[in-house]
């Protein structure tokens, strides 16, 4: 399968975007029955595997690269080129990390098949990439869990504290990115993470209970 073959592969479907924040424990991803994107250190979540995986930081490659290849060998993994070209293994798909502003200058609302290779995409954080990949694949509704963004708590994850990163993330830039992508893509984006710090005007919220798989709803 080529990168371009993912274009509109899930036209009109719902996708679950799974972040790594502490509140992921309140909405375990296995409660939901949608195609999904996992990102960064989601490999530390032992009881669930995403449909797709993405990461953009070299640190993830250096520190978790082997574990991800081992656990997610069969899962399509989307990483930027040339940034992470040293990360090798099966089922890697490499999109071009282009310079420039987040939303393409040509304002195309429907991305052509080769868009991820040329002109490529860019980002402020890995969730920006998951959103754009989902859009490229044709998903029309994006549900986000594991998104917290508590100020001065960027080190906190569902698996513990990462002392090797700064506690401050550029949240204003990330929030503006979410807002830009939501408005430009014109797809439904809902933050169903409980206890989130992302303002509703950036990403509208909804109750996660409405989206869990039916056996859980009836239990």
């Amino acid at each position: 399968m080529e990168l371009s073959d993912f274009n509109n592969l899930h036209s009109g479907a719902t996708v679950l975007l799974v972040g790594n924040a502490p509140n992921l424990k309140e909405t375990p991803p296995e409660w939901f029955d949608y195609p999904s994107f996992g990102m960064n250190t989601i490999c530390k979540y032992a009881t669930w595997r995403p449909t797709y995986y993405t990461a953009v930081d070299s640190r993830v490659m250096w520190e978790f690269g082997e574990e991800i290849v081992e656990k997610y060998g069969d899962i399509p993994k989307f990483v930027p080129t040339p940034n992470l070209d040293k990360w090798q293994g099966p089922n890697f798909y490499r999109f071009y990390h282009r310079p420039g502003k987040l939303w393409p200058w040509n304002n195309e609302s429907l991305w052509p098949r080769d868009f991820l290779s040329l002109p490529g995409i860019t980002y402020g954080c890995v969730m920006h990439i998951a959103m754009q990949l989902a859009y490229f694949m044709g998903f029309s509704r994006m549900l986000v869990i594991g998104m917290e963004h508590k100020p001065r708590r960027a080190q906190n994850h569902f698996w513990g504290v990462d002392h090797c990163i700064n506690a401050d993330a550029p949240l204003d830039e990330w929030f503006m990115g979410y807002k830009t992508l939501r408005e430009e893509m014109k797809v439904e984006m809902l933050n169903i993470s409980p206890n989130t710090y992302v303002p509703e005007e950036i990403l509208p919220r909804d109750d996660w209970r409405k989206y869990v798989a039916e056996p859980l709803q009836s239990s």
């Binding site: 930081d57 070299s58 040339p82 990390h97 420039g100 550029p170």
Partner: protein
Amino acid sequence: MSSSKYPYIARGNQRYTVLRSQTFNIDNGSGTTVDECLAANLPTDAELVSVQAIYQEATDTAGAADANFSLGTTAGGDDIVAATALEASKAVGAYTSATLAATRLAAGNSLFARHTGIAATEAGQYSLQVILMLEP
């Protein structure tokens, strides 16, 4: 300007001169500085047009902002560009523009770049691009 080999006078933007520094590694060590003289003893007065950090290796989504660069007329100086933080999530070819504290350089001046790094394990490399206009 004119020269014996090319005796025509450059006009307007043709007079732009582009200086490029070495490629600095962002994670060369916490607070570790690297100084480079980009131009020495300018032959004429000059006007600075822009100073940009051009990323030669992408930066991760956090961490790069703890490194910075400055530009001055003395080694380690910052009278041209004060310490300017680098940026996260930059692609190869992306840039960070610096604010110019001074735009005029008198003949005989020199131009020095200083890179101040951060601790190891942070992705990203960049070079400085200085555009100036030498005045005839």
